[in-house]
Amino acid sequence: MSAAWVTVLAVGAGTVVLKSVGPVGVANKELHPRAAELLSMVGPAILAALVVAETFAHGRSLVVDARLAGVAAGAAAIALRAPLWVVIVAGAAATAAVRLVS
């Protein structure tokens, strides 16, 4: 089997397991209110980390590049209460435009 197929199967199987831990292992059990409160903050924490990673991370370094223009344009669209597709298009257009001229 090629390296590509080994990777595809291992990553696929591992991801299925990771995604199932909560819904299969924890389902139908009552959560302690404090635990539920803690879990409600997992979302903001992970999404904020993803914003940092998608904007600044390049492998193991932090860089400022055209992606920052995309996030800035997206932030402007969010501030104007634009629909989600406008945020996405603004992000792509600003990133592509800066990349074109730089």
Partner: protein
């Protein structure tokens, strides 16, 4: 379900395009078109696929590619736990439905809040899955025609998308504190750890929100 499919519509062009660029990238890294499509259908998590494909293509080896991808997807353990109580039925049904949990379907369906709606999540997830696998197929089959996917600014579009999903979750001051701390942890760890680890470590930010309570 229908409400979820409607909510997925604004995301479809970006998901299709990112799926296509993953397909192109996979072909450039010596994946067959079938392998690229099977990966999108089973893994269904963009950043981990990009990480695995680019590491393998850069000669990083199978072990490094698999570990990096699974580290990136380890966030689905805490994400899955936040919505676990909404899942019903037999183990196989829960297992299948759990595969439709991705960052976007989870966040748009109110993941991490009391108003999470499993059916809405399933609708969004199904729509995104079709676009993701379809996009990958297009990219894998046409691979080589598109020379540079980054010219379309997709990476910046996804950063903006995650920002929008984040803002929708900033309901109170504890959420803001958790977000700022999570961002700081991610930035601090990026130079020190392999990709994926900073995002998992950011979940430690909930402790800050806890102490403010």
């Amino acid at each position: 379900m229908r409400k979820g499919l409607r909510l997925a519509v604004p995301l479809l062009p970006a998901i299709l395009a990112l799926g296509a660029s993953v397909g192109v990238l996979a072909r450039a890294s010596h994946f067959s078109a079938t392998a690229a499509i099977v990966m999108s259908a089973t893994t269904f998590a963009g950043s981990s696929q990009v990480a695995a494909i680019s590491l393998l293509g850069a000669g990083g080896g199978v072990a490094a590619a698999v570990v990096a991808a699974l580290l990136l997807n380890a966030r689905y353990v805490p994400i899955g736990i936040t919505v676990a109580r909404s899942f019903r039925g037999r183990i196989w049904q829960r297992l299948a439905e759990a595969q439709l949990v991705v960052d976007e379907s989870w966040a748009l369906a109110g993941g991490g809040t009391a108003r999470f709606d499993r059916r809405v999540m399933l609708g969004i997830g199904s729509g995104l899955w079709v676009a993701w696998v379809g996009g990958t197929a297009v990219g894998a089959l046409l691979g080589g025609v598109v020379s540079d996917p980054s010219a379309f600014g997709l990476d910046g579009a996804f950063a903006a998308l995650f920002l929008a999903l984040l803002v929708a979750q900033l309901g109170d001051r504890r959420a803001v504190a958790a977000a700022l701390t999570g961002a700081a942890i991610a930035a601090a760890l990026t130079p020190l750890t392999p990709p994926g680890v900073p995002i998992i470590a950011a979940t430690a930010a909930v402790v800050v929100g806890w102490r403010r309570a």
